[in-house]
Subunit: 241 residues, 2 copies
DNA sequence: CGAGCCGTTGAGGGGATTCAAGCTCAGTGG
DNA sequence: CCACTGAGCTTGAATCCCCTCAACGGCTCG
């Protein structure tokens, strides 16, 4: 069954400055010097999406890569059985849609989980860099490798164990993705199911249970606060059976 | 519980020739011209492993990448819950251990599924290429992207559905990985469980069922023949419920 | 205020796990 | 030669977890 994702025409604006970008150190162009950075800067737009807005469609051939400046983006795809699954989450600093650099169609739908701010980087920009391309190539490979490792970990951690355990794992991951102190993004129950491979009812039961157990507290629509120590306790407890 | 994987000291030999490599077109150095290729060739060794031999350990910092020339390699890692999971399979032409290029420790254990032949490429070789590095960088990125897409697909396809459905999916994947006409690698039942997130008993029941249904036929230890049409029939049938 | 979405909870059934026994087969040593 | 052993596979029976189907409540929005 298809989810009603709806696209919002992105409000685009020149990025304030790449030089003073808060994610510069960890960002794609972190390796470039100030001078090159200024040259690059004029061609990078800011894209703002509200929650549940579509960034791009699987199958579309885009000419842009994106870096998540703030917020959370999910990557979804449809299985051969016909149901939708979330295969990865991209938080601050993460590169989204690198396949565009290779002139390949996007492999997933990219959808905003929360309100999101992204840098939109044209593929052509990277080709134009000339001699400065080299440190960038290395930065790109590092991103790709990080994404690959993330996918593998996702696979291993979310792929086995009881539904209770998997929900615990997911919550910890969501804590890691949220800025320190901020409430986490709490997916809709159906979406938890799309991440962990369970039904929305089961997801609901597990979240309710964790609420009773004092590990999670709702903090608004799609938001929650986690008690990290409590969560760790419960994870240890569940791991020992 | 740990699997008894045992290491075999790889029999190393100079590769016959990169120029005439059967996987050259799809291989890492496919983009290089004959001349450069000959220069490169002297530094690439052939590694032969027998089934269940360890190629490298997760956490080890290696200085080599490998290309699968023949056979099948599995990538495993230990989850936080402490059980071992198989996160990806690498068949002919696939690059294994690219993180070594970034001087990062390997993220998974790499283990031979069948007898395997690999090209062992030193990290330093890529640094030494100089001006020829550029097409190579692109080839590398393409590999990384392919691996990422594979991991995401793995995630989506093996992460939901009944155990019967997931075993059907796995068998189709194994057919794709085997050379045309060759029998497929049939994992031990416990390993099917490590791939699909189920117990060995359940895996056994599903394989037995598919044998009764005429989709699979054993062809030796760890090997089997698949009837592709029958398999497709059963998949369609299972998809319609 | 009714409609629809989202979340929650219950009851029941079914599929997967657990626990267990038995089988085949290869390797080993008496 | 053959009993013995252990690993891998299969199958059965009982249990339990998760799914299915269903009803209901809170909430937002037209």
């Amino acid at each position: 069954m298809l989810m009603p994702t709806f696209a919002i025409r992105p409000a685009q604006a020149r990025a304030p400055s790449c030089r003073s970008c808060p994610v510069r150190a960890s960002a794609l162009f972190g390796a470039l010097d100030d001078e090159t950075l200024d040259r690059v800067h004029g061609r990078i737009d800011t894209v703002r999406l509200q929650a549940d807005a579509l960034l791009y469609d699987a199958g579309a051939t885009g000419s842009h890569v994106y870096t998540v400046r703030s917020g959370l983006v999910r990557l979804e795809r449809i299985t051969e059985a016909g149901d939708r699954r979330i295969v990865r989450l991209a938080g601050r600093g993460i590169l989204v849609g690198p396949e565009a650099l290779l002139r390949q169609p996007y492999g997933d739908d990219a959808v905003a989980c929360t309100d999101v701010e992204l840098c939109r980087i044209p593929r052509a920009l990277l080709d134009d860099l000339g001699p400065d391309r080299e440190p960038l190539a290395r930065a790109l490979m590092t991103r790709w490798q990080a994404a690959l490792d993330d996918a593998a970990r996702w696979n291993a951690e979310f792929g086995s164990g009881s539904s209770y355990w998997r929900v615990l794992q997911l919550l910890r991951h969501l804590v890691d993705l949220a800025p320190d102190g901020d409430p986490i993004w709490l997916p809709r129950r159906e979406q938890i199911g799309m991440i962990l491979g369970m039904t929305e009812e089961t997801a609901s039961r597990m979240i309710s249970r964790l609420r009773r157990e004092g590990a999670i507290e709702f903090a608004g629509p799609r938001e929650a606060r986690i008690d990290p120590e409590r969560l760790e306790d419960l994870r240890r407890q569940a791991a020992d059976e």
